[in-house]
């Protein structure tokens, strides 16, 4: 299908790591798209129509066919625009890539957020420990590779943008020393490499507004104690 016939839309919010994953994939593939900024406090009819199950962003719409869930979207993008592959071609390597991406969603995302954004101290400490353990697994998995995907970044790197860009923001806000070069030398080096990759750099949101927004959330949480 010629580019001019493609209709590609992304519903998102600035500052969402999950939306960012999709934006990185689209940038890597050089796909032009229309971006629609959603207001999660007042969700559009379009969002509710395209993601009735979860009512969340990101939602990717290709020729009027919607797909929610960031990792599902990234795989779809990879299968539709085949150059600059995101997943490896070998089935075992693909299974590993899917496993580690899911690991990030299941074991890192929630725990890292709660390691800062939890009022109860015991609960917060528990999440710090869980985050530490999860990041250690990733440190071990990365070994001496430049990216999780090898010489070029892949699915796991894209999923891990949460670690590279968002976790440092949380921990600065919360005064937490979790993801540091002392604790995780390989993962930390990877994160610097990743956020400075031209494709990723152009896809990341501007740091200051995201920081300000997340700081306000933290302050309102502490105030509610």
């Amino acid at each position: 299908m010629a580019a001019s016939q493609e209709e590609v839309t992304l519903l998102g919010v600035t500052g969402s790591a999950f939306v960012c994953r999709v934006q990185i994939a689209l940038k890597l593939k050089g796909v032009e798209y229309k971006y629609v900024e959603e207001n999660l406090g007042n969700k559009s009819d379009l969002l509710l129509k395209y993601n009735p199950v979860y009512k969340k962003v990101p939602v990717f719409v290709h020729n009027e066919k919607p797909i929610p869930e960031s990792l599902v979207i990234v795989e779809y993008i990879d299968e539709t625009w085949k150059h600059n592959p995101i997943l490896p071609s070998d089935p075992y390597q693909r299974a590993l890539a899917r496993f580690w991406s899911k690991f990030i969603d299941d074991r890192v995302v929630g725990a890292a957020w709660k390691a800062v954004y939890t009022v109860d101290e015991e609960e917060r400490e528990k999440n710090v420990e869980e985050s530490f353990e999860a990041l250690q697994f990733l440190e071990n998995e990365l070994k001496d590779k430049k990216f999780f995907g090898g010489e070029e970044f892949g699915l796991v790197d894209i999923a891990a943008v949460y670690i590279a860009f968002w976790i440092p923001i949380f921990q600065e806000i919360g005064g937490l020393e979790l993801f540091t070069s002392e604790n995780f030398p390989k993962l930390y080096k990877w994160s610097q490499e990743f956020v400075n990759h031209p494709v990723v750099k152009e896809s990341l949101p501007p740091r200051d507004p995201v920081f300000a927004f997340l700081k306000r959330r933290y302050e309102s949480l502490s105030a509610s104690k």
Binding site: I67, E69, V72, E75, Y76, R98, F99
Partner: protein
């Protein structure tokens, strides 16, 4: 070189059953190793050190974990027959989305229902029913979630059906009354030998769950 395929699993595990169905659909011969969840084997701990869970598929010595990921792996490796995922990328995304939905929603809701106190029980029961109502809606009038053919979402969901009697008994409701359109789909799937031979008897599952609950409560 002959393929060496080993599956670490438990007989009543809904996630492992998905893998067994997929292997059967593809006609893959494998060695089955029953795991005791309360006393995990060294092999399991070695092959899945991160989650220490079943199922784990070991193909020529290499472990693959997480049932949905294993099923996709099986589909990609043994790609000469019985395709499980559709070939169209949008349909594939759709299938992955719904299997992920089942993964995220069914088990946590069930867990809340059978382990909760009286107050939370009603809310958990309503949640479980609403999840199945959503799945009933998604099926629509299609014979299978995969359309005309048995596919990824069918594999992903059918394994929970041998737990219906357990859900119904603990929740005091009837799946047939709440989600009538799901029942013909269950029957259709059960007509496949790959499914009927693998899914255990509903009452056996219930008895095992009752035993498990007793053990938990006695601790």
């Amino acid at each position: 070189m002959a393929d060496e395929v080993v599956l670490l699993d438990t007989w009543a595990g809904t996630f492992g059953m998905r893998v067994r169905i997929a292997l059967a659909e593809k006609g893959v011969k494998y060695e089955y190793k029953e795991e005791n969840i309360n006393k995990k084997s060294p092999l399991l701990l070695q092959m899945n050190p991160i989650h220490k869970k079943v199922p784990v598929l070991i193909h020529n010595g290499k472990p693959i974990c997480e049932s949905a990921i294993i099923v996709q792996y099986i589909d990609e490796v043994w790609n000469d027959k019985a395709p499980i995922l559709p070939s169209d990328p949008y349909e594939r995304a759709h299938a992955r989305f719904w299997v992920d939905y089942v993964d995220k929603k069914v088990y946590p809701a069930w867990n809340k229902m059978w382990l909760s106190n009286e107050e939370e029980h009603e809310a958990a029961k309503k949640e479980l029913i609403s999840i199945f109502k959503q799945l009933e809606e998604t099926l629509g009038d299609k014979p299978f979630y995969g359309g005309d053919t048995f596919g990824f979402v069918d594999v992903g969901l059918i394994t929970f059906c041998c737990w219906f009697y357990t859900f119904e008994t603990y929740g005091n409701f009837k799946m047939e009354a709440e989600c009538p359109k799901l029942i013909p789909w269950v029957k259709r799937c059960m007509q496949r030998e790959t499914v009927s031979k693998i899914l255990p008897n509903e009452k056996e599952v219930y008895n095992a769950v009752v035993e498990m609950k007793k053990e938990l409560e006695s601790k």
